[in-house]
Amino acid sequence: MNNIRGIYTIWYRDMLRFWHDRIRLVGAVSLPLLFLFVFGSGFAPIMGNLGGGVNFAQFIFPGIIGMTVLMSSFMAGISVVWDREFGFLKEVLVAPINRASVAMGKTLGAATVAMIQGSIIMLFAPVIDVKLSVNTAAFMLPMMLLLAITMGAFGVLLATRIKSMEAFQVITQMLMFPMVFLSGVFVPLNQAPSWLRGMTIVNPATYGITSIRQIVLGDLEGAVYGIDLFGTTMSIWNNIGMLAVIGTALILLAMWSFRNQE
C-alpha cells in the first residue's frame, strides 16, 4: 500500500508539472510533425512505394509516433537528473516511501506524458490518408505505453548512474539518435544489409517501432513490415513479447539501481 502511494505521488507530481507546462506540448509535437510533413511528404515522390502500397509519408507516420513516444519517455531520466541538480530529489530520497517505487513513479509519469504526445501525433492520421479504426487506436494506447515504459525505465536507469546534467545530455544524444535511426523509423529494415540488421535487432526500440507500424498499417503477421530474427519473421505478438521482456528487465534494473544509489 505504501508502495502504491509512493508510485502514485511521484506520478501525480509529474502530471502536475506536465499540466503546469502544457504549452510545452506544442514544442514536443512540432518536431515530429515537421518530420512527418516536410520530410515525409517532401520525399514521398523520390522514395516511391515502400511496399504494402503506402507512400513515404504513410510509411514513416507510425515511425514518427514511435519516435515521439521514445524521445518523450526517455525524458524520465532527464527529469531525475534535473531534480538532482535542483535539489528536489533530496526531498524525495528522504521521504518515507520506497525508492524502487520512486523509480517506478518516474517511469510511469514520463510514460503517461509520452503516450499523450504519441496520441496527438496519431490524430494527424487523416491528414496523410492513413485510416485508423477505433479498434486500432485502442490497440495503440497500451502499445505506446509499453514502449514508453521500456524507454522511460532505460532513462531512469541511466540517471541513477550518470549524475551530471552535461554528461547525461551527451549520453542521451549518443544513444537517442542511433536508437531512432536503427529502429526503422524512416526506412524499412528488412532491406538493410545484414551487418546493419544485426545492429537493429539489439536495439530495443526496433521492436516498439515495428509493432506500432504493424498496428497502424495493418500488418499484424509481419508479412510486409516484420523483422526477421534468427530466421523467423516476427509477428506483432513476437515483437510485443520481446519488448515486454526487455522492458521488464529495464524497469527491474532501474528500481534496483535507484534503491542502491547514495
Binding site: N2, R5, G6, T9, Y12, R13, L16, R17, H20, D21, D83, E85, F86, G87, F88, L89, K90, E91, V92, L93, V94, A95, P96, I97, N98, M165, E262
Partner: protein, 327 residues
C-alpha cells in the same frame, strides 16, 4: 524506549581515506534545541545525512525516535523533518503544491491535510503567496517554505542544516523568529548545524565539532564559563612592541587580528584600569568583552572558527555562487 530522541554511539563515516566523522557519541533529549557547531568540512552535514538516512555509517550506531537509521529507514524518515543547506523545492510548482506533494508522500491523513497546510503556511506567513510558483519567491521565502514543509507531517525532530546560509542578516533574524516560534508552538526537537556563532548561542546545548570529532559539548553559557576569562581587544600605535610588553609584564600570549591585539585575562573589569594606567605603549583604543563561542572554539582547537564580519558573508556568497556555477 529511552528518554532520548536521538542517540548516537561511536559513529564513524569514512570516504576512502578521509574520516569525515570520527567516533562520535551524543544524545539529544525530547524538545531540545541542539546545535552542531564547527567550521565547514568539520563533519556536521555528514552527521545529519547519516541521521536522516541519506548516507550509511561506516560503523557505529544511531537511533532517531527509537528507530535505527540503517535498519528502520522508513520509520526514521517518517519521524523527521528536514531543511537542507541547499534548496530542495520544486520551483515549477506553487508553494501549496509543494506542500501537498509532501503531505502525500508523508501520508498526512487527507482529513487533516488541508488544515495542516494552512497552519504551517500561516506560521511562516506564506499563506497569501501560496498559489504563486516557488521560483517567484525570494531566498527568504523559499527557506520559510522549506521550514513549513519540514513541519508539515508533525515530525518528532526537525533537522536544520545551515538553515540561514547565504541569507542576509535581516532575513536570518526573521527566519530565527519563525524557528523559535515553532519550537514554542509545536515543541519539536530541533537539531541544528551552523557555523554562525550567534545562531549556536540560541541552542540549549551545543556540540562543537572539528575534524570529525566532537571537541566539547555543553550549554553555550557553560562553554564560555569554562574559559573563565574575559577578552581584551586593544589597539596601539605599535602592536609589535605592545605584544612584547604584554608578554613581559603579564605573561600573556596575544593574538593579532588585523590591526588589533586580542588576549584573555581573569577578572577583566579589575585588570583593565590597571592596564591602562601602567601600560608603556600608547593605547589608541581598548575594549573588554565576555568570551564568545568563537573564543571557546579558539581555546579548544587553537584556530579561529571563521573570519568575522563582512568578508565572511561575502565568502559565503561566493561559495554559494560557486556551488551553483558548478552545477
Amino acid at each position: 524506549m529511552s528518554d532520548y530522541i536521538i542517540e548516537v554511539k561511536n559513529l564513524v563515516k569514512k570516504y576512502d581515506d578521509l574520516v569525515a566523522v570520527d567516533h562520535i557519541d551524543f544524545k539529544v533529549s525530547q524538545g531540545e534545541l541542539f546545535g552542531f557547531l564547527g567550521p565547514n568540512g568539520a563533519g556536521k552535514t555528514t552527521t545529519i545525512n547519516i541521521l536522516c538516512t541519506l548516507s550509511k555509517p561506516t560503523s557505529g550506531e544511531a537511533n532517531v525516535n527509537g528507530f535505527d537509521v540503517v535498519r528502520q529507514q522508513n520509520q526514521v524518515r517518517q519521524s523527521i523533518g528536514l531543511v537542507f543547506q541547499d534548496p530542495s523545492l520544486d520551483e515549477r510548482l506553487s508553494g501549496l503544491q509543494n506542500l501537498r506533494f509532501h503531505a502525500m508522500v508523508y501520508n498526512v491523513p487527507a482529513s487533516v491535510r488541508e488544515k495542516r497546510i494552512e497552519e504551517v503556511l500561516r506560521l511562516t506567513q506564506l499563506w497569501n503567496k501560496r498559489k504563486n510558483d516557488v521560483r517567484t519567491y525570494s531566498g527568504g521565502m523559499k527557506r520559510r517554505l522549506e521550514l513549513a514543509r519540514g513541519l508539515l507531517h508533525y515530525p518528532k525532530v526537525l533537522f536544520l542544516d545551515e538553515p540561514t546560509i547565504g541569507l542576509d542578516p535581516q532575513t536570518r533574524n526573521r527566519l530565527w523568529e519563525y524557528i523559535l516560534e515553532l519550537k514554542r508552538q509545536e515543541g519539536t526537537t530541533i537539531f541544528l548545524t551552523t557555523h554562525y556563532m550567534d545562531e549556536a548561542d540560541k541552542a540549549e546545548r551545543i556540540a562543537i565539532m572539528d575534524y570529525g570529532k566532537i571537541v566539547a559539548m555543553d550549554s553555550p553559557a557553560n562553554l564560555k564559563r569554562r574559559i573563565g576569562k574575559d577578552i581584551v581587544t586593544v589597539k596601539t600605535d605599535d602592536n609589535n612592541r605592545a605584544a612584547d610588553e604584554i608578554k613581559e609584564r603579564y605573561q600573556i600570549e596575544t593574538r593579532r587580528d588585523d590591526d588589533e591585539l586580542i588576549f584573555a585575562v581573569e577578572h577583566g573589569e579589575k585588570f583593565l584600569p590597571r592596564f591602562i594606567r601602567e601600560f608603556g605603549t600608547k593605547i589608541l583604543s581598548v575594549s573588554l568583552r565576555n568570551p564568545s563561542l568563537d573564543d571557546v572554539f579558539l581555546n579548544l582547537t587553537g584556530r579561529e572558527m571563521r573570519e568575522e564580519g563582512v568578508s565572511s558573508s561575502f565568502k559565503a556568497m561566493v561559495r554559494q555562487h560557486g556551488r551553483r556555477m558548478r552545477r
